[in-house]
């Protein structure tokens, strides 16, 4: 600050309204090691030295000046002060420039030109679009032009210069721009705002997805907590999201179980050997390390492996999972079967149910050929094949499967029941299991059989 102005301030503040009788002043003096009265005196002296006439108060100065200048405008000849056009002071010049530039600000450059400049990558200035209506025209022009990057440039400007509620109400009627804006918000990780905009656009399903994704992005640690939060707060206000709501609720329920289940099994000293028994027809099984975050069925399969006998009231109980999540019989049987086989247990009890007239039947109508395929991929025990093959519907199919999995006795039995002597002989030559060869020979020796060939 310039010195003279400094002094002016002190003097004017002193004259403006110091009342030595007022109580307030007693607290506020001597800031600079002098009482206000002292400073006022000092300033008086200084001003007198500079020949500046002391004025009563700054406001009154402005008023008089203004009145003078105004009068000079109307009747310049009467003016007591002389305004010379030729020699404006430096300060005046600056003021003029400032003034004229504010005037320039009022003129809005053509939105069409600006949009084109953005498109061509030339320099542009959006700051002149101040009024809401100008902004709307600009946005519409950008949309009309057709280049999305131009629309984005305008949207980024609007994001900075408009309250989001105002912007949302604009976007409500402009679908193309709204989609671009949602994409921008997603990139900026403003999922809550994206969700709000979607709600504005009557798209509550998408809003839910944005909220849900925002939780997933945060990582596994706090996922359960975050999901519970959106469940309690944002989702409550959305309509027509019954399906999504249900899914998120189930997800929370699953997470509630997974942590204790993973924690309950003491980790083996050495890292678990990666289970290399896989089948192209089933998914990869999970280990204790990646249980948390795995799917419901993977969790079920895990529980079938390590907590098969857990009573229903425990979190890790397979039956408990089935009930809580209303799993279908098919979902349960497949995963129980795979889980037991991987533990080298006999899965036959899971697969068989009592059918009509007490005859055993495959539960959930699973296909036997598929079961056997998977069992063979996962190194299932042979007796499983012997137990399941007799249940195939036709002998032809039984023959095919038995041959494929080399269950010789079953192949032979089918051939015998078909009275196909030639095939039997051929089969005898193709195998080297002495017991089965003997079995064939014994059968052929029986003279009562009436072979068809």
């Amino acid at each position: 600050m310039d010195k003279p102005e400094d002094e002016k301030y002190w003097s004017s503040s002193a004259t403006k309204g110091f009342d030595f009788n007022s109580e307030e002043n007693e607290y506020s003096d001597e800031i600079f090691g002098a009482t206000p009265w002292q400073t006022a005196q000092l300033s008086k002296q200084v001003q007198q030295q500079q020949n500046i006439p002391q004025q009563s108060s700054p406001t009154s100065v402005a008023h008089t000046k203004l009145s003078v200048s105004l009068s000079s405008l109307s009747t310049s000849s009467n003016s007591s002060l002389k305004f010379t056009v030729r020699q404006p002071s430096k300060q005046c010049e600056i003021t003029c420039k400032l003034l004229s530039s504010t005037v320039n600000d009022e003129t809005v450059s053509s939105p069409k030109d600006v949009v084109r400049s953005i498109f061509l990558g030339m320099s542009y200035d959006l700051s002149c679009f101040k009024k809401l209506n100008d902004k709307i025209v600009l946005l519409d022009e950008a949309v009309k032009f057709g280049d999305s990057d131009v629309i984005c440039a305008v949207l980024l400007f609007l994001q900075k210069s408009l309250h989001h509620l105002v912007l949302f109400s604009l976007l409500k009627e402009r679908h193309v721009a709204a989609r671009e804006y949602i994409a921008i918000l997603e990139k900026q990780k403003c999922f809550k705002e994206a969700a709000m905009l979607c709600t504005e656009l009557q798209n509550s399903k998408e809003a839910t997805i944005h909220l849900y994704n925002s939780c997933l992005r945060e990582g596994e640690q706090n996922l359960q907590l975050l999901l519970e939060q959106i469940n309690k707060n944002e989702l409550k206000n959305l309509k027509q999201i019954e399906v999504e709501f249900e899914v998120i609720k189930e997800h929370i329920q699953l997470l509630e179980r997974q942590c204790p289940i993973a924690g309950s099994r003491s980790r083996p000293q050495q890292p678990e050997k990666e289970n290399d028994r896989t089948s192209p027809f089933v998914g990869k099984s999970v280990s204790v390390d990646n249980l948390v975050g795995s799917s419901l069925l993977s969790t079920l399969q895990y529980c079938c492996r390590y907590n098969w006998d857990a009573p229903e009231n425990l979190l890790a109980s397979p039956m408990g999972l089935k009930k809580t999540f209303r799993l279908t019989e098919r979902q349960f049987v497949w995963n129980a079967f795979i889980g037991r086989i991987l533990m080298n247990e006999d899965p036959i009890q899971i697969l068989l149910v009592k059918g009509m007239f007490g005859a055993p039947k495959i539960s959930a109508n699973l296909s036997i050929s598929r079961i056997l395929e998977i069992a063979s991929n996962l190194n299932g025990k042979p007796n499983l094949f012997d137990q399941l093959l007799p249940l195939t519907e036709t002998s032809e199919k039984r023959y095919q499967l038995a041959k494929r999995y080399q269950r010789h006795r079953i192949v032979i039995d089918v051939l015998i029941s078909n009275k196909d002597r030639i095939s039997l002989l051929q089969y005898r030559d193709s195998i080297d299991d002495q017991r089965e060869i003997d079995y064939i020979n014994n059968t052929l020796r029986v003279s009562s059989t009436r072979w068809k060939n």
Binding site: R116, I118, F119, L120, G121, F145, G146, D147, S148, D149, C152, A153, L156, V176, R179, E180, I182, A183, I184, E186, K187, K205, E206, I209, Y212, N213, L216, R217, V243, E244, V247, I248, E250, H251, L254, P280, F281, V282, G283, G293, S294, S295, L296, L297, S298, F325, L327, T328, R330, Q331, W334, N335, I338, L366, S367, R370, E373, I374
Partner: protein, 806 residues
């Protein structure tokens, strides 16, 4: 008429002017090829060594380039008269002779004859001046004099051809370049420097149709000149490159040319800063926000040193959102952003790709269309090389927008287009018009490789993990003869072909063993190499087949049967049961999603109960986090609930009323996909019993999907190319406003030019194969251009990814 001519003259003048301002080696490379670049470098060095004057040598090389480009320009615009062309042919022969002479003099000791060569060169100069006299200014003619004068200078020639002189090394390089040119059959000769002119001459006389490879050169030129612009070639630069861009950049320029431009160390972009070596540091990244943001944060945290300059090259464009992230992090003080957009990259003889892998998800899923402009720009660039497309047909909203943007670009840039159009048709289609081609299993060899081994910019990796250094197979029919024979074949015929080929190659080897020594020499130097390289390729193809068989054993057949059922609208209960059963045991997620989507697309959405059921089963089996995956599929119209309203009244109404009803609701009413298939005849008629065999033999386009479906694009292109008037009524009825047909009164509509078919959002190789078939059937050249290649599994994988970055 006369007006027209004048305008052309002006345009030409402008082009000449522009070129004269940009006479760099790079520009010349647009017109000539790679070898030329290295040749010019060596010539420059030769001159410099001789004159010891940098300026003068530069001037000579610059003059060569100027002459070359100007003549090429004249040639392209067909400014030469018949007479001049005849002279050009004479010049060509003389030049040929001069080049051979140079080689012989250098290689055969004591054969150098200065007078002979000087005379030859003088004759060449006179012929050349005669050709261009009418077209170029005196100044240009002066340039020709200068160049020829320099090289026919006896003192220069004497010292250059002197044995064991300091020029020997450079000369041997030049000679070897000339040799390799001869080996390639390009007898247009690069001799010393001015020989480049004859290359252009060659273009005039023999090479009227420009090669598609020019696209590559145009991309290359722009990349290299950007690098030079960032820092002169002499300044060493470090380059960090994003994984997705490595293959495309390799295809555009190759590492050697980058090194010539001063690129020193190259790193793959990773989460940690590379061990920088130089102070000019480049990043080459795709215009994906998350990638850009990571780089920006990286730079934010790195120490700022005023001596270090960072340059980020964004492909294809520095989008405004990307600029904003760099700006907001306050790194623009030491970081400069550059846009680089390549042209369509030739992946195979008839397949061009922009390699924008994020395009589908950005445009169709998120409806952010910033990349459309870059596609339009690439198309305009294409037009600059091959002429404007007189007839444009678009099917789909994005295609229409790209077409409009193409017009905008043309209006803004007003580039000089060649007079003649090589390509008479541009047919553009949105990926979401025909989802079936994406969801059905592709059964051509290349399609199967893509689905199982993930084709990446023309390469597949033959190890399951695709790790660095694993065996890779480049799928390009121009370099791999075996691939060109089998790529479009139905897979059931591939192995047969390969084993036949193996026997053949073995035989060719054995027969040759008994030949005479002379023949043996020829055989060893020519055939043997070829046979060996073919055997190498053969082994790679066989191991690729084995990998696919291992993956698909016991699965493929069942899936194909089910697909056939769903396409013919039969046994849907069993289809649904299969889905339920497979989902319960967590069968391959992407395969399941494809089947679910195919079901939904063909049934025009699922009934509420079925939809809810599958939705629930999928999430329970594969994880609740796929809630968003299923939501995205729904938004794309791939897996959705049937609208209760869309119960069409059409079958109940008399035909005429139905048509009226349809016309009035053309915009809002979406025609169910099955109906589209029926109207457009996309389900092949299986009247004959041998339908299956004809499908496999590749006579009918549906063979690419095992005879159950004809790609929609095949029908569209075929109908568009119907003589005189396109027969697109059925398409208009199916797609209403989405179909925009160009002006088919245009005289070029019936012309038999080439056709560019452009896919927005990706093309499957099966579709490309069906267009190859059409091309053979019609005897017309069809080129496929796409934003990227795509396959069903790749699409599902990208949608199921937790963060879809665009």
């Amino acid at each position: 008429m006369s007006d027209n001519f004048r305008a052309r003259d002006i345009a030409l003048k402008a082009q000449k002017k522009i070129l004269s301002r940009m006479s760099t080696k790079g520009v010349a490379k647009v017109f000539v090829d790679d070898r030329m670049g290295s040749l010019l470098d060596n010539v420059y060095r030769l001159c410099k060594t001789y004159t010891q004057n940098k300026k003068e040598s530069e001037k000579i090389v610059k003059n060569i380039i100027k002459i070359v480009t100007k003549i090429s320009l004249l040639a392209r615009n067909e400014q030469f008269t018949q007479e001049e062309l005849a002279t050009a042919s004479d010049f060509q022969n003389k030049f040929h002779k001069a080049a051979k002479t140079v080689i012989s003099f250098f290689e055969v000791d004591f054969s150098y004859d200065q007078k002979f060569l000087t005379q030859l060169l003088t004759e060449c100069r006179n012929l050349l001046k005669q050709i261009v006299q009418r077209h170029l200014t005196d100044k240009s003619l002066g340039r020709i004099d200068l160049v020829f004068g320099f090289f026919s200078n006896p003192a220069f020639l004497d010292i250059v051809f002197k044995k064991n002189s300091e020029y020997n090394e450079i000369m041997s390089k030049i000679i070897s370049d000339m040799h390799s040119a001869l080996d390639q059959g390009e007898l247009c000769i690069f001799g010393t420097d001015c020989f480049s002119v004859s290359k252009i001459k060659n273009n005039i006389v023999f090479n009227e149709i420009m090669d598609i490879e020019n696209l590559r050169q145009s991309s290359q030129f722009r990349l290299l000149s950007l690098l030079t612009k960032i820092a002169p070639n002499g300044v060493l630069k470090d380059l960090v490159i994003h994984e997705d861009l490595m293959k495309p950049i390799d295809l555009v320029s190759g590492a050697r040319l980058l090194r010539e431009r001063g690129v020193d160390k190259m790193f793959k972009l990773s989460s940690v800063a590379p061990p920088w070596k130089n102070s000019v540091r480049l990043y080459l990244i795709p215009s994906i926000y998350a990638v850009a943001e990571n780089v920006a944060w990286h730079l934010k945290q790195s120490e700022t040193d005023k001596m270090i300059a960072y340059h980020i090259i964004v492909v294809p464009k520095v989008l405004n959102v990307i600029h904003s992230v760099f700006e907001s992090l306050g790194v623009l003080d030491f970081v400069t952003l550059h846009s680089y957009s390549w042209d369509f990259i030739p992946l195979d003889s008839n397949l061009l790709s922009l390699e924008f892998h994020q395009f589908f998800n950005a445009s169709f899923l998120k409806e952010e269309n910033s990349l459309l402009t870059s596609v339009a720009k690439a198309l305009m660039s294409f037009e600059c090389l091959f002429g404007k497309f007189p007839c444009v047909t678009t099917l789909g909203e994005k295609s229409h927008r790209v077409h409009k943007l193409l017009g905008t670009w043309q209006g803004e840039i007003r580039p000089p287009f060649p007079e003649e159009s090589d390509f008479t048709h541009l047919i553009m289609i949105d990926r979401n018009i025909d989802f079936a081609s994406l969801l059905l299993t592709q059964l051509t060899y290349e399609g199967v490789l893509d689905e199982n081994l993930k084709l990446k910019s023309g390469f597949v990796y033959l190890d399951t993990d695709g790790a660095e250094g694993s065996q890779r197979l480049m799928l390009n029919s121009t370099s791999d003869e075996i691939y060109s024979e089998i790529k479009g074949k139905h897979i059931s015929l591939v192995f047969q072909h390969l084993s036949k080929k193996a026997k053949e190659l073995q035989q060719r080897r054995e027969i040759k063993n008994t030949d005479s020594i002379e023949e043996m020499k020829v055989f060893v130097s020519h055939d043997l190499k070829k046979i060996q390289s073919q055997q190498k390729y053969l082994a790679l193809h066989i191991s690729a087949c084995e990998m696919v068989m291992k993956r698909q054993a016991g699965i493929l057949e069942e899936l194909l049967g089910l697909q056939e059922d769903v396409m013919s609208d039969s046994k849907l209960k069993e289809y649904l049961l299969f889905l339920e059963d497979s989902i319960a045991r967590q069968f391959d997620f992407y395969a399941i999603l494809r089947m679910v989507c195919l079901y939904s697309v063909m049934e025009d959405g699922l009934p509420e109960k079925e939809y809810q059921f599958l939705h629930r089963q999928l999430l329970q089996a594969y994880g609740y986090r796929h809630l968003s995956t299923l939501h995205y599929l729904q938004r794309l119209g791939l897996f959705r609930q049937r609208d209760s309203k869309s119960l069409s009244l059409e079958p109940l109404l008399p035909d005429r009323l139905a048509r009226v009803a349809q016309v009035t609701s053309l915009k809002s009413e979406r025609v169910p996909f099955r109906k589209i298939c029926q109207r457009l005849n996309l389900f092949p008629q299986n009247e004959s019993s041998d339908a299956n065999s004809s499908a496999k033999s590749g006579q009918h386009p549906s063979y690419v999907f095992g005879g159950i479906y004809t790609p929609l694009i095949y029908q569209l292109v075929e109908k568009c190319l119907k003589e005189k008037e396109p027969n697109l009524g059925d398409f208009a009825r199916c797609f209403g406003n989405n179909l925009r047909i160009g002006d088919y009164s245009h005289p070029q509509w019936g012309a038999r030019g080439k056709i560019l078919v452009c896919f927005l959002g990706g093309v499957t190789l099966a579709e490309a194969a069906s267009l190859d078939l059409l091309s053979r059937q019609l005897g017309r050249h069809i080129v496929v251009a796409t934003t990227s290649t795509i396959s069903g599994p790749a699409l599902m994988e990208s949608i199921a990814c937790p963060n879809i970055d665009t």
